[in-house]
Structures are given as structure tokens and as C-alpha cells.
């Protein structure tokens, strides 16, 4: 019984840490123009892991919603942002 409770507790507590998906926020330098920021929407939209993205010109952020069970590494995000002609300031992740 003790073993079952311990196992259940571990699953409940640690479960989210193993879950893929979630929300990633990329802080992007140079993102001042709507017309030009379309490139980010186009290129992130081609990624298999991406469910949706939201661009905030005020906050200079790109919020990326990942599909359940999918991941997108920081390196890949930096690569896409750089490929689009911008620079990454930092990346925040929330599950």
C-alpha cells in the first residue's frame, strides 16, 4: 500500500516535468514592424511542434504554444529567430 501511494505521489508531483508541449516565450530584439514580423509567424508555423504563435510587438515577444507531446529546443527557436533576421534576447518556458 505504501509503495502504491508513493508511486502515485511521484507521478502526480513529477508528472508535469516530463510532459512535453506547453508554452515558450521568446524575447526578440529588433521586432518593431508588423509587416516584417510576419516572417516569424511563417517560419514558426512550419514547425511540426508548434500549435500556434502569438506576436506581441509591445512586449517584443513571440509566444509559442506547443502541441501536446511535442518539444522545441531553445537552439531551434534561436535558429528560427536568427533565420528570420532577428536576435534572441532570452527564452522563457512555462509548462
Amino acid at each position: 500500500m505504501r509503495k502504491i501511494v508513493l508511486t502515485l505521489a511521484m507521478v502526480i508531483i513529477t508528472g508535469p516535468a516530463f510532459a512535453a508541449g506547453g508554452v515558450v516565450t521568446a524575447h526578440v530584439d529588433g521586432m518593431v514592424c508588423d509587416f516584417c514580423a510576419r516572417s516569424l509567424e511563417k517560419l514558426f508555423g512550419k514547425e511540426e511542434a508548434v500549435e500556434a504563435i502569438k506576436i506581441d510587438l509591445d512586449g517584443k515577444t513571440v509566444t509559442i504554444n506547443l502541441k501536446d507531446g511535442q518539444e522545441l529546443s531553445d537552439e531551434r527557436i534561436e535558429e528560427i529567430v536568427s533565420y528570420s533576421g532577428y536576435d534572441i534576447e532570452k527564452i522563457d518556458r512555462a509548462e
Binding site: D29, G30, M31, V32, C33, D34, F35, C36, A37, R38, S39, K42, L43, K54, I55, D56, L57, D58, K60, Y83, S84, G85, Y86, D87, E89
Partner: protein, 212 residues
């Protein structure tokens, strides 16, 4: 000397033009530009965020000649700052010029042009400068430059209709009125960008850009 001073002055006071000559990797852009000097159509493809390759058709109104050219634009340097962006481009093309005007009888000559373009913008202000030297054999040989300043009357967010009020200064030394001023409105939403204005000589400016 006067031309030199005006060039330097335009660069210093306005620094960095136009809808971007280079798009995102895989992006295709169509631009139709019409002003006092010329009508042009430019279709380009950007294999990278630093280069675009395309076809350019120009009809120069006063000189009454056309150029069909292959144009390459290169982003030489981009400055991405927290609240602003600046760009430095080289824009060049080679092709064929054609004229049947005046003394020319179906004259065809090799043509080439090159120039730099700089722009700086944040979400409220915009400034740009570009120049170009055009060589088209016996048909034409001239230098032009222009600069812009702009202000956004309101700050829209992503997906909104964006509006800019701008003033364009054109310097075309070979025209009877070498310097012209054109107040214009730029509006863009999604992948569409349009500009409309009228110069102090009454010439209409109408530009449209779409980016796929």
C-alpha cells in the same frame, strides 16, 4: 559639389527606405512603385534573410525608356536593438534598356544600376535614405537619391492596420525641378502594404507591396 553636399546632407539628416528589399527565407515579394520619376514592378525571392533575387521592370517617364533587369539585393548589416531596427542594403541590377524616344530608333543598350539603402525605425518614427547610379549606354546615365522621414500617429499591435505619415524628398539632378517633396500615407495590414501621396509638383505616388 552641390550634389555631393546634398548627398551627405541627406545621409546625415535622415540616415536610413522603403518596404524591405529582402524578405524572410523562402519569401516572395511583389512591389509596384509609381512616382514622379518612374513606374516599376519588382518581383523577388529571398533564399535567405540576407539576399533577394528578382526581376525588375522600370519605365522612366521623363527620359522615356524602359529597363528589364535581374536585380539582387543584399542585406549588408542589420542592427537589432530592443526597441528599434536599422538596416544597410546594397541593391544592384543588370539588364537591357530600351528606348524609341527622340533620336533613338528602337535603341537597345546594356544597363546596370547600383546603390545603397539605409533605414532606421522604431514603432513611432521611421527614417530612410537610398541612392542609385544608373548606366544605360547611350540611352541614360544618371544618379538619383531619396530620403524619408515618418511618424506613426498611433501605435498598433500585431495584426492591426498600421498607418504612417511620411515625407519623401527626391533628388534627381537631371530634372528641371531636381528636388521634390512628397507627403504620403503608408498603410499596411497582414501581408499588404500601400502608399499614396502627391508631390509639390502635383505628381502622384502610388506604391503597393505584397509579401507571400
Amino acid at each position: 559639389m552641390k550634389l555631393f553636399l546634398l548627398t551627405i546632407g541627406l545621409i546625415i539628416f535622415t540616415m536610413p527606405v522603403q518596404a524591405r528589399p529582402v524578405s524572410y527565407p523562402g519569401g516572395i515579394t511583389a512591389m509596384s512603385m509609381n512616382d514622379a520619376d518612374k513606374h516599376s514592378l519588382h518581383l523577388h525571392y529571398s533564399p535567405t534573410a540576407k539576399t533577394s533575387l528578382g526581376y525588375k521592370l522600370e519605365y522612366w517617364r521623363d527620359r522615356d525608356f524602359t529597363i528589364n533587369a535581374l536585380q539582387m539585393n543584399n542585406l549588408l548589416k542589420r542592427w537589432n536593438n530592443k526597441d528599434s531596427q536599422a538596416n544597410f542594403y546594397l541593391k544592384s541590377g543588370v539588364g537591357i534598356a530600351y528606348s524609341d524616344a527622340g533620336a533613338f530608333d528602337h535603341e537597345k543598350d546594356a544597363a546596370a544600376f547600383t546603390g545603397i539603402a539605409l533605414d532606421w525605425e522604431n514603432r513611432r518614427f521611421f527614417t530612410s535614405y537610398e541612392n542609385r547610379y544608373t548606366e544605360a549606354g547611350d540611352i541614360a546615365d544618371f544618379f538619383t537619391q531619396k530620403a524619408r522621414v515618418g511618424i506613426a500617429p498611433y501605435i498598433g499591435d500585431y495584426g492591426d492596420l498600421h498607418t504612417w505619415i511620411m515625407l519623401q524628398v527626391d533628388h534627381n539632378p537631371e530634372r528641371s525641378d531636381p528636388v521634390t517633396f512628397t507627403p504620403l500615407v503608408r498603410m499596411f495590414k497582414d501581408v499588404h502594404l500601400g502608399e499614396a501621396g502627391i508631390s509639390d509638383n502635383g505628381d502622384i505616388l502610388l506604391n503597393y507591396v505584397i509579401r507571400y
